[in-house]
Symmetry: C2
Subunit: 142 residues, 2 copies
Amino acid sequence: MVKARGLDTKMSEPKIELRPIGTIRSELKERTGAPRQGNEGAPDAWLEVEDWAARALSGVAEGDRLIVITWLHRGRRDTFEVYPRGDRRHTLTGVFATRSPDRPNPLGLHPVVVHKIEGNRLLVGPIEAVDGTPVVDIKPEI
Amino acid sequence: MVKARGLDTKMSEPKIELRPIGTIRSELKERTGAPRQGNEGAPDAWLEVEDWAARALSGVAEGDRLIVITWLHRGRRDTFEVYPRGDRRHTLTGVFATRSPDRPNPLGLHPVVVHKIEGNRLLVGPIEAVDGTPVVDIKPEI
């Protein structure tokens, strides 16, 4: 039995729509050249939370360790396998075994420390997400 | 200046649509009574990956520690503050400082071990997600 591959396959699940709750404001402007992980020399960045979601920040304090969940809006959703770290000497690997930003649902998980809070804005880092990346959730560290 | 609160506030961001890549098949059928976290007595469960996404599993092996990202489809998206663990003796707290399944984008992060792989199905656990929960991403542990 041959099974169709790709995103054009019919899917029975209902639609799930994310509403960005904030945006990353970073000195990193381009994916090219950006660190691949937060702990590989990434800078701190401001996380600006939308006014409508600001109430959900109560209880978040400077010094907290959080997981920021982003939507990696420049990721390719039709990529299923990659050479890890873009190095073709590595074995072609399914994206679920990697942190590639190219994946069916390009969600990013960023463990960060909250360095400063100014109203709806959190200075967090280190974080490798580029400027303008939508933020979809914030949680305590796992 | 008074700012409007709530999900009816206009949002300038483009729509972001998640496509479930799989589904949790669990003995936990109802949110009521389910453990609040995987490490609080949750069972193992099968993660069934859709055929169209199965190629992204290559490289995932038994014994791997993964983060499963779910869409907590029974979460309330209009909840911004909660009493942690539903206990009103606690302080009313913003959902971004908690793991409440009620939040603007009810994503769940589940650190699990892969116990068995059978084709497109992974036996993973412990995991507190209820039966039928959509899975939107799988990543190596942070």
